[in-house]
């Protein structure tokens, strides 16, 4: 029993250390790979506590290997959008201007009840109020309501009326998102001219968002010279 007691304490601190190494992302919404690692780590920890015949290193080593692989994978995902798409997939637009994209819904294996439930959870009871609804890679539904349906705010004025289409990311960490250029109805020349007005080039930009009315927001990278 004393062996089980000591092992449990060791495993407890080991799992905490593992979660700390993986970082805060583990404590929020889980991506598929993060969910897999979390489940595996907990199962490995349980095995060692339940069966004292298993050497402790037989638990410590797989946990640290899993954690290291997860951290390195998330680093590669940060550096490579292609890897991110491969591992996490893409967010999928399931509602546009109040109309459900049934083909997308089928490919996600969602029913009408699933999407209705998610909309209601977001406070939307009428699908015609939805300008755009996106199923994120974590499985959550993000909803952007029509301008008329949104709660009033001080910023809403005549100059911003009618913005039913959400802004999309045009530059992400220095890389241009071509799909957003098409979405906003602009070309590379417009982008270069816009950035040029602020003496910027795409690689200087941490994030740039733009909507169909060409209303944009730019955040430069820190420490840019």
């Amino acid at each position: 029993m004393s062996v089980a007691f000591i092992r449990t304490i060791i495993i407890y601190f080991l799992v905490i250390a593992a979660l700390r190494i993986m970082g805060k992302r583990q404590l929020g919404e889980l991506q598929p790979s993060e969910l897999v690692v979390t489940i595996l780590v907990s199962n490995l920890a349980t095995m060692s506590i339940e069966d004292s015949n298993i050497p402790l290193m037989g638990t410590v080593m797989p946990i640290f290997v899993l954690v290291s692989c997860e951290v390195l994978l998330s680093y590669f995902i940060l550096k490579s959008p292609m890897t991110q798409k491969l591992i996490f997939g893409n967010p999928r637009i399931v509602v546009r201007n109040g109309v459900i994209d049934q083909k997308e819904l089928r490919s996600l294996r969602w029913t009408v009840e699933d999407i209705s439930e998610q909309l209601r959870a977001g406070g939307v009871f009428d699908i015609s109020e939805v300008s755009m609804a996106i199923v994120e890679t974590s499985g959550n539904l993000s909803v952007y309501q029509n301008y008329r349906s949104r709660p009033m705010s001080i910023e809403m004025d005549e100059t911003r009326s009618g913005e039913d289409d959400p802004p999309m990311v045009m530059i992400s960490d220095g890389k241009i998102v071509e799909d957003t250029l098409n979405y906003c109805g602009v070309d590379r020349k417009w982008l270069d001219d816009t950035l040029g007005q602020k003496q910027l080039v795409p690689k200087d930009v941490f994030i740039m968002t733009c909507n169909k009315k060409r209303s944009y927001t730019i955040m430069e990278k820190e420490g840019r010279k």
Partner: protein, 126 residues
């Protein structure tokens, strides 16, 4: 970046430990097989004094190496070999040749089985 560096340090450490584990199991298996071969030869030649010396050699070797072996391998497997080795001195002094040899063969099989399980082979991976 700190986490990435921690992971880059942890992975080779774990790899190093698994290589150490494989090496240690190989070494122990080789040593036990050698000693048990000597025991079988002494038993077949009915050289009682040599047989007792070889058995005592194996017992003291196992006592020395058992603690490290426990860290690397399932404890019940280590205990099983330990129990068989513990029987050998009495069998060498007072038991029958066939009982002694069957215990020795069981030890050889178990240690080889542990080594085969730890070896990096496709069969073990799958």
């Amino acid at each position: 970046m700190k986490r990435v560096i921690t992971s880059l340090v942890l992975l080779p450490l774990m790899l190093g430990f698994s290589l150490f584990s494989m090496n240690k199991v190989n070494y122990l298996e080789g040593a036990v097989l050698r000693m048990t071969t000597e025991i079988l030869e002494a038993s077949n030649a009915e050289e009682t004094r040599r047989l007792i010396d070889e058995v005592e050699g194996l017992v003291s070797f196992w006592k020395k190496e058992e603690r490290v072996f426990r860290i690397l391998v399932r404890h019940n497997q280590v205990e099983s070999i330990g129990i068989a080795i513990a029987r050998l001195p009495a069998l060498a002094k007072h038991g029958s040749k066939s009982d002694l040899q069957s215990e020795v063969l069981a030890i050889r099989w178990e240690i080889s089985d542990i080594k085969n399980t730890e070896a990096f082979k496709l069969g073990n991976v799958f």
